[in-house]
Amino acid sequence: MPEILSLAGVSRHFSGLQALRDVSLGIAGGEIVGLIGPNGAGKTTLVNTVCGVTPASAGTVTFAGRDITRLKPYQAARLGLARTFQIVQPFAEFSALDNVATAALFSQPGQSLKAARENAREHLAFVGLDGQADQPASTLTLAMRKRLELAKALAMKPKLLFLDEVNAGLNSAEVEKATALIRQLAAGGITIVMIEHLMKVVLNVCTRIVVLHNGELIADGAPRDVVRNPAVIDAYLGQQYAQRHGAHG
């Protein structure tokens, strides 16, 4: 598969703070990439930089053969770049259905509100929220809101989907469910980049792991190799994890 997203020498600083340092990365269509690293490593900044929320200070981002470095978030979204937020961002007063309808309505030109709502119903059913379609988003539980975010992202018909900690704050049954959904999406042809702290999920789902530390890319490769990489153990996983993992594997 050809590369769908590539970052070449991407840096981003917030005045004195260097959040991303010369990151180069290529992601092929169909991959499920796990983006890991300690808090403050620049994972979310990387997503924000690709999506146009905080444009790169240096370097270029190419998506599906097009330079998107300077695009605004809504322009990137219309090209097929969708994301979910670490802190869920629903339209609180809208029903679950209308939340998803917004995504269908604004990401594709010429959509009518009626068509968008019909479209939204399918995506709600896919994430298992069809029973809550008419409930205001503010009344949903956290797990439901996370799935709502996912439905919203899917309604944009994305080519590439960033999942920013979709499993954080969920119990293990809910994590199971979310993981199954992610696999299903990937099988449907969507390339996925997921920021995730639960190593079990990362190792279960991802075909490749990328590790950020202090804004730098310190490892990139197959999951089994990356978790044995001393730099990664040092920066993020810790010795205990390595020993436990070593004992089992």
Binding site: Q89, A92, E93, T102, F106, K152
Partner: protein, 311 residues
Amino acid sequence: MTRSSIALAVLLAVLALLPLVGGAYALRLGTIACMYAVFALSWNIVGGFLGYPSFATAAFFGFGAYATGVLMTLGVPLPLALVATLITCLLAASVLGAVLLRLRGHYFAIASLSLVEVLREVVNNATDLTGGGMGLNIPLASNSSVLGDALFFFYAMWIVLALTAAMVIAVSASKLGFGLACIRQNETAANMVGLNTTLYKSIAFGLSACFVGVAGGIYAAWVHYIDPSDVFDILYSVKPIVMALIGGLGSPLGVVCGALVYLGLEEVVWRNYIQIHSGLLGLLVVLLLLFLPHGLVSLRTRLFRRKAGHA
């Protein structure tokens, strides 16, 4: 059309029958009522639908008054001057909106407030064109009797109100209205689902300005004389906010009712307590907001719930 839109249309139709029952005084009051309702409906687009607290109404009003006034002194007939005012106001406000609506919350409120001051100073200093602080005399638009004049301006203002209401109803049922509601609830998320928030905000600001500008133009032709401190009065910015709060934020029917109620209070208090009228009016507004925080539109559900409770 929703039920509240139909109710609004009926309310406006009833208002149009005013000349059948009232004289010159009632018509003057009716003209002001229409003007206030135009303010409140227009403010509701940015303040209610979009959720940005705008204090720019007086800026649009003054701009419209001077645009029409200056054009008329140059010999342009009133209808043509009003159309020109509408278009200029729409374009200028759209451009300004794209810039001003980058600010949020209090910052936007202050910026919109300063727009009034800036325009006032510009008009004050452009003496050649506007007469500056001396004010501007505007040629008579019609040469009819007192009552004929009153009738003419009442219907002129009523037509602007009808157009504003039609525009607001169309917006609230459209993709634009849906997008504005998205921005009000969560601007980051709106941007992320592919909504061009800058464009939507700029259109909203333009639409909230254009009919206020036309109302200003009609006002100028009506009173024949305007000066900067009269038409750029900050009270024109504050009143629509109070009206919208009295009526019910976001609801077109509500804000028009709010405008009528506000005008009623203003007039009654002014007539009976001329010495302390502003103080008393302020007190009434505070009491209304305290006991009816969601405005007049919430009365229906409140009464309904009480009845259900008794049953």
